[in-house]
Every structure is written in structure tokens, then in C-alpha cells.
């Protein structure tokens, strides 16, 4: 294809998106669109999968059967989210093996929030409430993103997320209505998860490299700072209901802007964790690799079985 032809295809392509038409897997797309989508969708998938680890940590120690069933179902949903997203990503021409490989070698990123440890049961409450809460704010706009398979996966994901946040908030509520010690536990969890949750919505707009292009492709509909403001404004009243204090002395309602002002975020910490120096980075990746390697014999056995069945069927047919 000549350069002029590519330019004209690109113009048609951008017009299609501006017109709110969807792009489907076999449609022509610019290489940059394909690459950016593989990166974002796979990062998203990896986050769902690694995100199971901090919560899986508490399934066997849930305080009641009701809590255990709910947490188990939540973690199973996250596995489902990862699978929807991996499938969507594969439609762009990358194999599942390669995607796993990128995760396991550390070449691909996942949400840095999952590199923090889950120290007490209250962390299951704080994660559902804050981390799933921030994820919902991030994900809802993606239901109308331009790439069809991604948009469809996000519709399914968003439908399932609201139970995640509600079960987390309910855990916090029970703790806050419990003994002084239990309430303290809830406060401690909020103290540890608040700032990482704000960071989860991404670097500040002035430091964010992808925003403009992402906006055009509807990979982003609001900027990181807008999403963060929305998250804070919606979460502060929820903390009030619990009777908990947000760990930010500078947090204050600003009548003029109709939102909360908040203190500075420690972006050094964020970049440290992104670069692999968070408290749990190594453990998370080790656990993923372990699961993959130790599951190999199961995959091999299933393949061998399928092959044998197939051969048997073919023989009968002759």
C-alpha cells in the first residue's frame, strides 16, 4: 500500500470512530491503534488476574460462611473478567501464550494497586469499597469505547462490578458497627488503601502521555484528574456514613468548584511501585509464574486426552 492510500484509510478510520461507529477485529486499523489496544486491554486483563491474589489470600480465613461465599464469588468474577479481556485482546492478533508470557516475564504491567499486601480482614472491605469503586469509575466510560470486542467485554464486567463494591462496603459497615477494635481495623484499612486507590486512577493529566490519542479513540472519555475528582467526591460521603476519617488533613469541601480539595499525592511512591519496588511485586509475579508452571501437567494431560479421544473417534469412523 502506498503512503497516500494509508493516509486515506486512516482518515476514513478516524472519521468512523468520530461518528461513534465501532471497529471490529477484521476491519482495517492503523498499526498504532492495534498496538495501543493490545497494550491497554492486556494490562487490564493482567490486572484482573493478578487482582485475584490479594483477595484469594483471605478466602480460607473469611469470618463466616456468608462472607466466604461472597468473596469466593467475587474472586471468581475477577477470573472471568480477565478471561473476557484476554479473549478481546486476542482478536487483535496476539496469542494467549504470548500475553501470559509478557505478564510472567515482567514485560507487561498490571495495576500497581495489587502490589500492596492484604494484612487484615478489613482489607477485603476496603478493597471492594475503594479499589473496585475506583475500577468502576475507570471502566464505565469504556463500555462505549471504539473497539467492539473491548466495549462488549466491559459491558459484562461493569454489570458484575457493583456487587463487588457493595459486598466490600458491607464488610466495612459491619466492622464499623462492631467493637472499638473492629472499627479501628476498618480505619487502619482505609488509611492504607486510600492513597493507593487515588493513584490507581493514573498519573496527573500534566504527566500523562497517552491522554490525547486515547481520548480520540475513546479509550478514555475523561482525564485521570477528572476521574480522581469524581472518585473522591463520591467516596467521602460514604466514609462519613461509616464514621471513618479519610487520611488526608487537607481534604476540604470547595463550594466554588462543587468538589473536594485534597492534599498532594506521593507520586514517588507510585512510580516506585510501578517500577517493581512495591511491597508485593515480587510475590505477585512469583505466585503467577508458579501457578502457570505447576499447572502445566494438567494442561498437557488435557491436551493428550483430547488427542486420544480424537484418534479413537477417527478410527471408529474408518
Amino acid at each position: 500500500m502506498s503512503e497516500a492510500e494509508i493516509k486515506s484509510l486512516e482518515a476514513q478510520f478516524e472519521a468512523k470512530i468520530a461518528n461513534d461507529e465501532k471497529i471490529e477485529p477484521k476491519d482495517w486499523m492503523p498499526e498504532k491503534y492495534r498496538k495501543t489496544h493490545i497494550r491497554q486491554i492486556s494490562q487490564h486483563a493482567h490486572s484482573e488476574i493478578v487482582g485475584m491474589l490479594p483477595e484469594g489470600n483471605w478466602i480460607t480465613r473469611a469470618p463466616s460462611l456468608r462472607r466466604k461465599a461472597a468473596l469466593l464469588a467475587k474472586v471468581q468474577d475477577e477470573a472471568g473478567h480477565g478471561l473476557y479481556l484476554y479473549s478481546a485482546c486476542e482478536t487483535l492478533g496476539i496469542s494467549r501464550e504470548e500475553l501470559y508470557n509478557q505478564l510472567h516475564t515482567g514485560a507487561a504491567k498490571y495495576s500497581s494497586i495489587f502490589n500492596y499486601p492484604t494484612l487484615t480482614w478489613a482489607d477485603m472491605g476496603a478493597i471492594g469499597w475503594l479499589v473496585d469503586g475506583a475500577a468502576i469509575i475507570n471502566q464505565v466510560p469504556l463500555c462505549s469505547t471504539s473497539y467492539g470486542p473491548y466495549a462488549r467485554a466491559m459491558v459484562r464486567v461493569c454489570k458484575e462490578e457493583s456487587f463487588h463494591q457493595r459486598q466490600g462496603y458491607e464488610i466495612m459497615l459491619s466492622l464499623c458497627n462492631g467493637t472499638e477494635e473492629q472499627k479501628q481495623m476498618a480505619q487502619d484499612a482505609l488509611n492504607r488503601w486510600w492513597w493507593p486507590s487515588l493513584m490507581m486512577l493514573g498519573p496527573e493529566d500534566k504527566d500523562s502521555v497517552h491522554t490525547e490519542q486515547s481520548m480520540k479513540w475513546k479509550l478514555k472519555r475523561k482525564t485521570n484528574d477528572e476521574l480522581r475528582q469524581q472518585f473522591i467526591d463520591q467516596t467521602v460521603p460514604q466514609a462519613d456514613i461509616l464514621g471513618l476519617t479519610i487520611p488526608d488533613p487537607e481534604l476540604k469541601w470547595n463550594e466554588e468548584k462543587g468538589g473536594y480539595d485534597f492534599g498532594p499525592i506521593d507520586w514517588d511512591e507510585f512510580w516506585q511501585v510501578v517500577k517493581g519496588h512495591g511491597p508485593m511485586n515480587k510475590k505477585r509475579l512469583d505466585d503467577r509464574r508458579n501457578a502457570w508452571e505447576k499447572g502445566k501437567w494438567v494442561r498437557d494431560a488435557a491436551m493428550a486426552y483430547a488427542q486420544k479421544q480424537n484418534e479413537r473417534k477417527n478410527k471408529q469412523a474408518i
Binding site: W28, Y84, R96, D300, Y305, A306
Partner: protein
Amino acid sequence: MSKEIPLWEVFIRSKNGLEHRHCGSLHAEDAEMALNNARDVYTRRNEGVSIWVVESKHITASNPQDSGELFEPAADKVYRHPTFYELPDELKHM
């Protein structure tokens, strides 16, 4: 063994009376496991009463580049639509 686990397309009937609709894909070694996985991945909240799985490689798809040739000819066949025919206003319900 380093063969890739086959890819399957999943179709779900949400209730009797409705058609099976494509809802996504997954990897599985054989049809039986594809069905089991589809149940776990796509019907955790009563989304279905029946599942079809078909290995993706068996699907033949039209090419978007042929869309003009395939689908545009239908656009100028307005006589396939009831509104093409001019009938008197007195005529009701036809």
C-alpha cells in the same frame, strides 16, 4: 507439549424462545471442556439455558473488504420494502 490450546466461540440461549447469541470466546482442549468452561465463564448469573461451542477455526467469515460487493446491492432494492408500494389512504391495515 507446547501446542496451543484451541480457541472456541461461545453462543448462549438466554431463554427458550430466543436464539443463541455469540457472547465471547475461550480456550479449551476439547468440546466437553469448552462447554464446562463456557458455563463457568459466561453463565455465572443465570445468563443461559443452553450453550453452543464451536471451534473458532471452523468459522468462515466474510471479509470487511468485500462489504461493498456483498451488502451494497441490497440498498437499491427498495421494492423489497412494503413502503415502496403506493396504495390509497382508505386502505387500512395492509
